[in-house]
Each structure stands twice: as structure tokens, then as C-alpha cells.
């Protein structure tokens, strides 16, 4: 039983981890704490929902299309909303992302209403049994997908010129600019990648929850907490933090009560900050 709880915790944790990863990508490349990060995931959910349920597009096409749509949204966000205020006082920039969060979540509410929508599961077969432990296919798929995506992102960051540019900008914008890197373009692409990662999280999460317009903020908070626990700015930290939050949530919901789930997650956060103020993976940049 415990294994099942942990595995399904890891599955939801994987989605928090991905959103946190995207959140940290934006923090590292643009020094922006993006309160609209959860909305990128929600946008992908709704695009996938519209395509598959109302457009009857098969899921194997609808999912990549929705991730692409959320990447586009991320790119537009940087171009239209963030770039004009970049470098200003941190509270101004945060407020701009809050404004965007309001626009996106209430925009979604305007279009789709406040009600939750069920989402078709891509793998609806019977749960898999492993020596007495029964695990739902979707949970395993989510964990597997997260692992693949993280491996792909890591390869991109290390191997491709784009990854190198992204890392250079994250290291030091001015030096990157002196090296001839188009910083603005790179930051915009960083937003696109970040939103795409959040979009993947969204479509992975959609089948296990109901899709609704008000999911963005709670997802953001989970991933913000994950990023902090992991050591703000660290990619492995964001992943570990997200997985940890997912597991803690699930174990607490099962062992204590769902009422106090968030309280206990937050208390864990505070205890961890007291024990390890720099997070799981201190980020020495």
C-alpha cells in the first residue's frame, strides 16, 4: 500500500517538478519570479482538451500540439509582457507576472467557465501489477515521461548551441552579450522552453485530475515551494523538491487527512529551511 501511495505521489510530484523546472529556467535566464508559470500548464491542458474532446484530434497529435501552443504562449509572454519591464525593481516585475496570471486564469474562466472538465486518459488499460503492488498506468507513464524529458533537456542544455547560449545568459547576461549572444532572443526562447516544460506537466496531469481554469495558482505555489526546497535556481533541486512535495502530499493525505495536507507540506518546507537554509541542492552561482 505504501508503495502505491509513494508512486502516485511521485507521479503528481513529477508534474510539480516539471513546472518548478520551468519556473527555475525563467528565474535563471531572466531573474523573473513568474507567477504565471502554472497558467502555462493550464493553457496546455485546455488546448489538449479542446483538440481532443471537441476537435476529435487523436491524442498523439493533440498532446504535442498543446505543448507547442504553450511554448508559443511562453514566447509571447516574454516578448509582450516581460521584456518592457525587465531589469526593473523586483516587485514591479513580480506584479506584472501576477497581472498576467490574472489575465490567463480569468481568460480561461471566461472561455470555459468555472467548471471542471474530465480529460481522456491516453492509457486506460488495467493497472499493472508488480508482485502484489498494483500501480496505475498513468502514474508510471508520468514518471517515465518526466525522466525522458529531463534527460532530453539536459542533453539539449549540454550539447546544443541553444543550450549553451541559455546557460551563458543564465550565468551572466552582460558577459553573454559581450560574447555576441543575442540575449533578448535567448531569454524569449528560454521562456518558450520553460512554458513547454510546464505544458508537458499540464498534459501529464490532466488525465488524473479534472481540468479547470483555477488550477494555475495552486500549481504555481507547489512548484514555487519545490524550487525553494530544492535550492532556488538549481535544476536538480527543483526536480527533487517537486517529487518530495508530491510524495509528502500523498502520504499526508493518506496517513493524516486531506484537510491538513497543505499545512503539513508547508511545515515540512519550514523545517527543511531551518535545517538546510540553502535547500537540497545549494545553488552556487
Amino acid at each position: 500500500m505504501l508503495v502505491q501511495i509513494v508512486v502516485s505521489g511521485l507521479a503528481s510530484g513529477a508534474t510539480y517538478a516539471l513546472i518548478a523546472l520551468g519556473f527555475v529556467i525563467i528565474w535563471n535566464t531572466a531573474a523573473v519570479v513568474n507567477f504565471a508559470q502554472g497558467e502555462f500548464a493550464v493553457a496546455a491542458m485546455f488546448v489538449a482538451l479542446v483538440l481532443s474532446r471537441f476537435g476529435h484530434v487523436p491524442l498523439f497529435l493533440a498532446l504535442p500540439a498543446s505543448v507547442a501552443a504553450s511554448a508559443l504562449l511562453g514566447w509571447l509572454t516574454e516578448r509582450i509582457v516581460i521584456r518592457p519591464v525587465i531589469g526593473r525593481n523586483a516587485m514591479t516585475v513580480v506584479t506584472v507576472t501576477i497581472g498576467l496570471q490574472i489575465v490567463l486564469s480569468d481568460g480561461a474562466k471566461l472561455i470555459f467557465g468555472g467548471q471542471p472538465y474530465p480529460f481522456p486518459a491516453p492509457f486506460s488499460g488495467a493497472p499493472l501489477g508488480f508482485g502484489g503492488v498494483v500501480l496505475p498506468r498513468q502514474s508510471l507513464l508520468v514518471i517515465l515521461a518526466m525522466a525522458l524529458l529531463v534527460a532530453a533537456l539536459h542533453a539539449m542544455s549540454v550539447l546544443t548551441p541553444f543550450g549553451k547560449r541559455l546557460r551563458a545568459v543564465a550565468q551572466d547576461r552582460e558577459v553573454a552579450a559581450m560574447m555576441g549572444i543575442d540575449v533578448n532572443r535567448t531569454v524569449a526562447q528560454g521562456f518558450a522552453v520553460s512554458a513547454a516544460v510546464a505544458g508537458v506537466a499540464g498534459v501529464l496531469l490532466a488525465p488524473v485530475i479534472f481540468v479547470s481554469a483555477d488550477l494555475g495558482l495552486p500549481l504555481l505555489i507547489k512548484s514555487f515551494v519545490a524550487a525553494i526546497i530544492g535550492g532556488f535556481g538549481s535544476y536538480p533541486g527543483a526536480l527533487a523538491g517537486g517529487l518530495l512535495i508530491g510524495v509528502i502530499d500523498n502520504v499526508v493525505s493518506y496517513a493524516v487527512s486531506t484537510d491538513y495536507r497543505d499545512v503539513i507540506s508547508f511545515l515540512v518546507l519550514i523545517v527543511m529551511l531551518l535545517l538546510r537554509p540553502t535547500g537540497l541542492f545549494p545553488n552556487h552561482r
Binding site: 519570479v33 507567477f35 509582457v81 518592457p84 519591464v85 526593473r88 525593481n89 523586483a90 516587485m91 514591479t92 506584479t95 506584472v96 501576477i98 497581472g99 498576467l100 496570471q101 490574472i102 489575465v103 490567463l104 480569468d106 481568460g107 474562466k109 471566461l110 495558482l217 505555489i221 514555487f224 515551494v225 524550487a227 525553494i228 532556488f232 484537510d259 491538513y260 497543505d262 499545512v263 508547508f266 511545515l267 518546507l269 519550514i270 529551511l273 537554509p277
Partner: protein
Amino acid sequence: MMSRRPAPRAALAVAAVAAVAVPPLLAPYALHLCVMVGIFAILALSLNLICGWAGMISLGHAGFWLIGAYTTALLTTDHGIAFWWALPASIGITAASGLLLGLPSLRWNGHFLAVITIAFGMIVQTLSVNWEWLTHGNDGVSNIPRPVLFGHRLGANLAFYYLVVVILAAVWALMHRFIVSGYGRALKALRDDEVAAACMGVNIARFKVTAFVLSAGIAGMAGSLYASYVRFLNPDSFGLDTSIRVFVMVVIGGIGSIGGSILGSFAVYVLPEVLRPLQQYYYVIWGVVVIVVMRFLPGGLATIWSSAPPGRE
């Protein structure tokens, strides 16, 4: 507010006269909005003390507001205590909870403090849902009495409005005194450079905690007024969205500007009326307004009338 040209005195005088003279002429709903603007202005001012002058961040002020509101609500209903005793009790208990949140601020700032304050707000709200023995949970608290002043119950919204205006003016005056005093200067100094401020003899820990305690106390006052005004509380009104909304009021109005916080809460509450024909689009448009104001008025609405460069006072 002291070194740069603030609003011209004439404009302030006009605003003050309008605040006193106009409400009796207003329709009931408009008057209701005015009361809410006043209460939120007090709440926004309390947050501005943290964000504007002390340079810290709080996204948990709805938690303080809740504690203040519930203290008054429960004391005046379940325990039959008069509002005028419940108000200071609210302030005191909320200020004490400010101590709780002030302590982590000594150790963390920036994102860490943002998340910890979010956690605080959500924990307080969760407890108010689940501690039914104390708060009546999701049923909320109803039939909260209005204050009685000189034998008259302030049942009419207009009378309550004037109570709010008087308290808002008092908070304004005290905050202004605080900010132009050596304390306010030291707070601004530690916002700019903690190490240098400490070398001038500023006890950083004491100042930060004091800022949180004062801010919480003022937020508790706003909560107490709110409970007694709306007469029914339930935990839904005190979520993260409320904390964020107050934060937006502060930044939109003008970080570190007293008048700005009042303008900010005015904008948040009166804009929907201006946008009434677009009612269902209101929130989306509000989000756009936030983005646009930050784009073109980084110092907030308070800088509309001053030609000074954007920045913090």
C-alpha cells in the same frame, strides 16, 4: 513622502473634503464600495509598511486580516464583548502573530520570505476552516454586531463609513509620522543596505520584527472593521488570492507611498464599476490594467501627479 514633491496640498484637501462630503449623496452600493475601499486601504497601508519601507515581501497579509476579523467576530458574537474591546484585542492578537512571521524574516528574504508568507496565509486559512470548535469552520460566523458609539449602533453604512474614514486618517497620520521619524529613516536605510545600517547602530532584527508587528497590528485593525461591517465571515474571503490582491493594490498604488495605497485600493474597488458594461471581462481587463500600469508607471499611480523619476520614496 518628505523629500519629493508629494501630491499638491490642494489635491489632498480636495480629496479629504470629497471623502467627507460626497458619500451621503451616493447610492447604497457606491457607499458600500467606499467603505470597502477604506478598509482595504488600511490593509494595503499595513502591507506597504513591509514592502515599501522595510523592503521585505509578504504574500500572507490575508492571514493577518483573517486573524483580526475572526478575533472581533468571535469575541462580539460568542462572547458578547463590545466592539470597542474587540478592536484592541484584534490588534493585539494580530500583532502577536506578526511576531511569528517577523522571526523568519530575520533569516530569509526575497523568494524565501515570499513563500514563507504564502505558507503562513494558507496555514491560517486552513486552520480557520478546520478548527470548527473555535471558528465554526466553513459555516462561518454570522450576526456580527455593528459597533455602538455613544449609545447609537452604527447600523447605517454611512455612519460606519465615517468610522472607517476616521480610523484610516489616524492610520495615515501615524504612518506618516513613523516614516518621517528616525525609525522610518532607519527602516528605509536597512532596506537599501542592511550591513551599512547595522554599522550605523540599527538593530536589524528589532527593526524587522517591529515592522512586521506594526504591520500585522494595522492589518488586524482592518480585519476587525471588516468583520463588524460585513457582519458575516467565512474563510473563503481570506485566501491567497486576497493576499495577492492586496499586494497588487500596494504596488499599483505606489510602493512606499501612503497616498498610493489608498489610490490602489480605490482602483481595485472602483474600476469594476467603470468597467461595468464589460462585467464578465472585468477580471481579464483588470489583469491587463495591472500589466499596463506597471509598464508605464513603474512607481505606481501615486507618481501620476509628480514629475519625479519613478522609484521608491
